[in-house]
């Protein structure tokens, strides 16, 4: 790992034995990269199997020569969008890291608010000087994404497993069962039985029901299971006399983008017309 941060030798094609990996952050809190740093000494094992060429939270060096790009955060400006397009060109594999990148996450909480009001609330009389897109979007709405590792923040073990799979030429696998299944294994008292509403029945598992285990309820941070109507943990919902749609409406913290997608007839890809997605002004650039 002596050359862990050595830039490419110029032709960008020198012999290598480890995949070159880069981390990027867009609009978000950078908690997913922090989870990677929080691997502590296991981070050193990680760099035995991959060569990290860019990781702003932990290194000052940077190279555009990489095979795997882990991208954290969502898309909020034209600058974000152009950077992302370049990363897609550079990388063989793009992995969305965390919920904002994977499916919009908490950034999209503002998506159903009137954008002029949003700007005015935050920037007051300077609102006109702010340029950003009227909605926050996941990176998959701008570029093709090969894999997603959801979570707010990501689960460290899931990240390690995904890297291991990629290094071995396998496909990272993310569960498509609801949080409830893992919650049973954790022997938690069901949040519904405690009189709370929980998103566990329709939220993608893989987190060991961390929030219920901490004494609260599932907030939906890993996004919905692939097909909420079929894949949900219906036992719990039926016992509570709730429908999937009712639960989806109960909390809206992480699902702003996903809810928009569901409202589009025939499962279309975009919630609003293209021209609404154009940047105001120059889109966040200067």
């Amino acid at each position: 790992m002596s050359d862990a941060s050595t830039p490419s030798d110029g032709d960008g094609r020198r012999p290598r034995d480890r995949p070159r990996v880069a981390f990027f952050d867009f609009t978000g809190c950078e908690g997913d990269q922090l989870q990677v740093i929080n691997l502590e000494d296991r981070l050193l094992d990680l760099v035995e199997v991959v060569e990290v060429v860019s990781f702003r939270e932990a290194m000052t060096d940077h190279s555009d020569d990489y095979e795997i790009a882990f991208v954290e955060g969502g898309v909020a400006t034209g600058h974000d969008e152009r950077r992302l397009t370049q990363i897609r060109k550079n990388a063989d594999v793009v992995v969305a890291l965390g919920s904002c990148a994977a499916f919009g996450g908490i950034n999209a909480l503002r998506n159903d608010q009137d954008f002029e009001t949003v700007k005015e609330r935050v920037y007051g009389e300077d609102a006109d000087s702010i340029t950003s897109y009227p909605t926050a979007r996941p990176i998959g709405d701008v570029i093709a994404v090969d894999y997603e590792i959801p979570g707010c923040p990501i689960d460290r073990e899931e990240f390690v497993q995904a890297v291991t799979a990629l290094v071995n030429g396998a496909e990272p696998s993310i569960p498509n069962y609801p949080v409830c299944l893992e919650c049973k294994f954790e022997e938690n008292t069901c949040a519904f039985e405690r009189g709370e509403t929980c998103l566990g029945p329709i939220t993608r598992g893989g987190c060991s029901a961390t929030c219920v285990s901490a004494g609260t309820h599932c907030w939906g941070c890993r996004g919905m299971v692939d097909h909420p109507n079929e894949d949900a943990y219906t036992d719990v919902l039926e016992a509570q006399g709730l429908t999937t749609e009712e639960v989806i409406e109960e909390y809206q913290l992480y699902w702003g983008w996903q809810r928009e997608q569901r409202t589009v007839a025939d499962g279309g890809n975009r919630p609003v017309a293209d021209d609404e997605q154009r940047p105001l002004g120059d889109g966040g650039d200067r």
């Binding site: 790992m1 862990a4 941060s5 952050d25 867009f26 609009t27 978000g28 809190c29 950078e30 908690g31 997913d32 922090l34 740093i37 929080n38 502590e40 000494d41 981070l43 050193l44 760099v47 990290v52 990781f55 702003r56 932990a58 290194m59 000052t60 060096d61 555009d64 909020a76 400006t77 600058h79 950077r83 370049q86 990363i87 908490i106 950034n107 909480l109 503002r110 608010q113 009001t117 949003v118 609330r121 935050v122 920037y123 000087s129 702010i130 950003s132 926050a136 707010c152 923040p153 008292t189 949040a191 405690r194 901490a214 004494g215 609260t216 907030w219 913290l253 966040g284 650039d285 200067r286």
Partner: protein, 439 residues
């Protein structure tokens, strides 16, 4: 020997550039000197509108992962103040412990992962595994200890779950606190090793001084973090209710991040401001480190913010020991593992003010009588420091323009890094580019 220096961070074409220094020197005359910060707006203050008082802290935790416990606690304080909710002494101690853990983690991340590689001539912390394995082990161990503190108290270190309005959903077990106490008591060698390492760095720091206004919280009985009133080195104590007059935010043409000023053009928050305002309340072990580095309040060299962070690392460890001993001596009051503190939502307005790794943080919310947010305001530390970085640069650059451009660049980068600008709250990758010819 006059020459032209043009330091320009080109934000459009530089993929990581969100914070840039632009310095233009023409024939020895300083023409432009700007600290430019472009933030990618996330609109949290708007996102909060319409959310329940049971969700506010969950949402604002996502402002910044490195400071997620900090934002959570400031948020809870604002909500509790708005609804007149009191928090038990035990829970206030536990919150303090969680915040100390996060601040420890953040300071060690900055000192060990960012400053230390510079010191030993590496571009990242990773090569240290071969060149400085023992030192790296020390850094990782202290970083892990900070995270463990937060995890034991709040369930996890990033976006903690157990912190709720009015208290905790779940408490740590006493045996977990006992284990943690042992870990803390055995950490002093690691702190000494980190201090030895940084002692070398301290000699490399520029001898630049510029007195400014230093703003922090202050508390009569302790080195303030979670409780206290605002203190300005210029005018003394200021009630928290006047925070908007202190963090007087304004917009500058060259940045989208807000700047702030109070009595002067700019002020400084963070470890050095806390040290300057409250140094006499440091734990003895922390005061010893300050002595070793010759840090004697008030310190006017912003580069020494790094050293103040090291001093705080020692203070936070010592205070964590004291807090855990007190918690264990009193015993934890039993509660359910799914506790929901009872709160009748009422309309009102409340402010949370706490010291977080990079300085004083304010959250203010107004709620309606259904307990939904009608208005929110968050003032983060890094934005309060932008103006001070700008003024430092304006004072510093004319004294170094005759130096080679690489040196000018390095000195300015170090200045910005010394402030440890929060990488996600506002400023991003520092990017400096020379495009002009230099004699």
């Amino acid at each position: 020997m006059s020459h032209t220096i043009d330091v320009d961070g080109d934000l459009v074409t530089r993929v990581e550039g969100h914070g840039s220094i632009v310095v233009n020197v023409d024939e020895g005359e300083l023409e432009t000197c700007e600290w430019q910060v472009v933030e990618s707006p996330r609109y949290f203050e708007s996102m909060l509108v319409g959310r329940s008082f049971r969700e506010s802290h969950h949402v604002t935790s996502r402002i910044c992962a490195i400071c997620s416990v900090s934002h959570t606690i400031a948020s809870l304080q604002a909500t509790e103040a708005a609804m007149g909710v009191s928090v038990s002494e035990q829970d206030r101690r536990l919150r303090k412990l969680a915040l100390y853990g996060e601040t420890l983690q953040s300071h060690v991340l900055h000192l060990g992962y960012l400053a230390l590689p510079d010191l030993v001539g590496e571009k990242s912390v990773l090569p240290l595994a071969e060149t400085h394995p023992d030192e790296l082990e020390t850094v990782i161990d202290l970083h892990r200890l900070g995270n463990e503190l937060t995890e034991v108290v709040t369930g996890r270190s990033v976006h903690a779950q157990r912190l709720l309005p009015g208290g905790f959903s779940q408490l740590p077990e006493e045996r977990e606190l006992e284990t943690l106490l042992d870990r803390l008591l055995n950490s002093w060698d690691a702190v000494a090793e980190l201090a030895d390492l940084l002692a070398v760095l301290a000699d490399e720091l520029p001898a630049f001084e510029r007195e400014t206004e230093y703003i922090s919280l202050t508390h009569p009985e302790e080195y303030a973090f979670t409780e206290g009133t605002i203190y300005s080195s210029d005018v003394g104590e200021i009630p928290v209710s006047d925070y908007r007059d202190v963090a007087n935010e304004y917009v500058v043409e060259h940045s989208t991040a807000k700047f702030a000023r109070h009595e002067r053009d700019s002020y400084m928050v963070g470890a050095l401001a806390r040290f300057n305002n409250n140094a006499e309340q440091l734990a003895p072990r922390a005061a010893d480190i300050a002595d070793r580095f010759g840090l004697d309040a008030p310190v006017h060299n912003p580069y020494l913010n790094n050293v103040a962070q090291l001093v705080e690392v020692a203070h936070l460890l010592a205070e964590s020991v004291r807090l855990i001993e007190a918690l264990l001596a009193d015993g934890l009051a039993p509660q359910s593992n799914y506790h929901v503190p009872e709160i009748d939502p009422t309309a009102g307005r409340g402010i949370g003010a706490i010291e977080v790794p990079r300085g004083v943080l304010f959250h203010e919310y107004a709620y309606d009588d259904a307990g939904e947010v009608t208005e929110a305001n968050c003032v983060i530390p890094t934005n309060q420091n932008h103006g001070n970085i700008q003024r430092d640069m304006e004072t510093l650059v004319p004294t170094i323009v005759e130096q080679p451009e690489d040196d000018v660049k390095h000195t300015l980068e170090m200045l910005v890094r010394a402030y440890d600008p929060c990488i996600s709250c506002s400023t991003h990758y520092l990017d400096v580019e020379f495009v002009g010819e230099v004699a």
